[in-house]
Symmetry: C2
Subunit: 411 residues, 2 copies
């Protein structure tokens, strides 16, 4: 039996090392099942099937230029000293078929993408032909196959185009359209629910007043969830009432719940206890600052992340743990989506051994300065900063002048 | 008067240098007007106003910890040799106000975010207090202000939070929520229309058959337009009929039209002539391969980009020119959204002086290999490639072993 002791107002009994937490997340963040969607809407989605082309693209020989389709051999010997005249017998544009066989000495006007007519095997570029009424003058031999796009030149029937797990690019879904694949199987997006707790919280859009503040966490997490390939199903603002929270946690049909606030060891912090009662609390308390009161557990198949209510803690805990889980569940790389930059530190950064610090930095003239106002509740520190770094768990920080990797908030 | 000569089937009269084209795009891509939207939906949008906070956040002193609010001075002298006892007279949680003044020798249980009660100026962490029934034992002096978040600690009233032009981060809209700003002004998104021409084209979702191919351009451009901050209003598949195209071009209410196909010098290439008749054709033909038959013009306030129908040309022309215009119209950086990487070339790349080549590359063991199937119509080359590079207009390409900057398709 797991312990069900009430940890409120007694502090964290044991902090889970961040590495252990990350490997737990990895263990429980299996790639979700597949769903079928329209190919045209699949850009950025993760393929859940191998794609083999059912067809050649194109499925006919076509002209790669605007010009004149003709039999290459009948141009052999042409030069400016020996211009050869060809009778232009008609024209073919893309989507049309010219059904009469072209004879030697004849040419057919053809547009880029037009099907190569019978009797021809090359295209003379429009720019290289001198026009005389219904004839063209050829001043240079055209080699066979010139400017002809062969059947299957882009894609061959039965060609393996994409392997399972690929993140589809815009051009990939173009290719899917070109082979006529209307629907494909992709990894479904993890469904996320936000459970925003705190009796002091007003809803976004309301004006702060008295001892009430406005919930900024749901606002901030929503676009991050989308960025990490999740789909935000519901946002609930729930008072710190045990029964209400319990109902929400048990009845949610999401894959992942982020509960913000009520996750620490305060009297109204029901999150950890509830997760432990309803399922299994795997992590509560980590050596990371801010974000120490972060928790993680399972309720049935649902993953529950307990995120601190303080917005900087919430942001860093989401980014370091939840985003990673969502990306893995969605079949994506667990790598951070931020770009990074190596910059010289303008000041030293101290950190306790055994603790990871989430340090916000401003970059000026390729030097990084710490944002002084650094508390867990100072969300504006993350708007003034250009980026952040994390200290190593086993280091005492960085010396002034040291080169550090800064993760940039602006992608 | 500008020339209205019909250029079809005669080749490009004059190619516009790419630099000139880019500076024309810059000239005509002014930042669009503002629109008011909900702050909570503004992540990734560009601010069209300066944001000054109308309030302090928080608007009261609050506890930064779960613990006990008390008067700091009355703890002075406390030590393990001289433990001081404090009477816990009640508790305050966030969102509540405790209205009785706390006296010396008293403490109030307080939760993180709770308002600091009158008579106190510091918070003792829960973990540092020994509890004896309704008393706590203090073993160490608490300095005044300890664990107290002062009024305005996050944001001060009248503080300038964001300047016009800022691309809003997730945490920025969190800050906007926290100051109670329900709506803000952002640069409106450029409205884009796709005019997909070509009698040979089937619509995406259809199966290719006979001499018909499926339009892949609209499929590929849609997510790119979204990426570049545009909003795709309409996609029209239009046959190569002059009157129809003319109607579409004149009646469109978009800010920018991408017409694909019908942009070159073929008999059915009505695009350039129509733009010249209805407005002003500024560019037609550029020294870039593929994408040579790219054009650009204005019809009233509308920008019209003529993009080649061949998908690789379409992709490269969109990416190099249209995406840039959209980003500038939307108030964004004109910089490419792709990440890049410096890689050693495994083979040489030849390029004619005066021409820019769009070269697709596969990266293997930190070396870049050219994708051999390189024609303008081979869309699969951009799916097999890891990225691409552009040769310099005034260079003959790159030598084998040279370090080159490769732009990565996968962001």
């Amino acid at each position: 039996m797991k312990p069900k002791a009430d940890i409120r107002m007694r502090g964290f009994l044991k902090r889970t090392p961040v590495k252990t937490f990350l490997s737990l997340i990895k263990d429980y963040s299996q790639v979700l099942s597949a769903e079928e969607i329209l190919s045209v809407e699949a850009s950025g989605r993760i393929l859940a099937q191998k794609i083999i082309s059912p067809t050649n693209v194109p499925n006919f020989d076509r002209s790669a230029m605007d010009g004149y389709a003709l039999d290459a051999e009948s141009t052999f010997g042409a030069s400016s000293y020996n211009p050869l005249m060809f009778q232009v017998v008609g024209q073919v544009t893309p989507g049309e078929t010219y059904n009469v066989v072209i004879q030697a000495g004849e040419a057919l006007r053809i547009m880029t993408g037009g099907p190569i007519p019978k009797g021809t095997n090359a295209v003379l570029m429009a720019e290289n032909a001198e026009i005389f009424d219904d004839k063209i003058q050829v001043l240079e031999a055209v080699p066979p196959g010139k400017h002809v796009g062969k059947i299957g030149e882009d894609i061959r029937q039965d060609q393996v185009l994409f392997e399972k797990g690929r993140c589809l690019r815009p051009q990939d879904i173009g290719v899917l359209a070109s082979i006529g694949l209307e629907k494909i199987k992709v990894v479904r997006k993890p469904k996320v629910e936000l459970l925003i707790t705190g009796n002091e919280l007003l809803k976004p859009g309301e004006k702060p007043s008295g001892v009430q503040i406005v919930d900024s966490n749901s606002v901030m997490l929503s676009p991050l969830i989308v960025r990490d390939g999740g789909v935000l199903k519901d946002v609930y603002h729930v008072p710190d009432k045990r029964e209400l929270l319990s109902k929400h946690l048990s009845s949610s049909r999401s894959d992942l719940i982020c509960m913000t606030g009520g996750t620490s060891v305060g009297i109204d912090d029901h999150g950890p206890v509830l997760v432990d009662e309803l399922g299994e609390l795997l992590v509560h308390g980590i050596p990371m600052r801010p974000a120490a009161p972060t928790g993680f557990g399972l309720i049935g198949e649902k993953k529950v992340f307990l995120l601190p209510g303080n917005p900087v803690s919430c942001l860093s805990a989401y980014d370091y743990f939840v985003g990673r889980a969502l990306r893995m569940m969605g079949g994506r790389s667990e790598e951070w989506p931020y770009r990074s930059k190596i910059v010289k530190l303008a000041t030293k950064i101290s950190s306790e051994i055994g603790r990871i610090e989430y340090v916000r930095l401003r970059i000026e003239n390729e030097r990084a300065f710490i944002i002084a106002a650094g508390g867990a509740s100072i969300l504006s520190s993350t708007t003034q900063a250009d980026g952040f770094l994390l200290t190593e768990e086993d280091s005492e920080g960085f010396a002034e002048g040291e080169q550090v990797q800064v993760w940039l908030y602006d992608e």
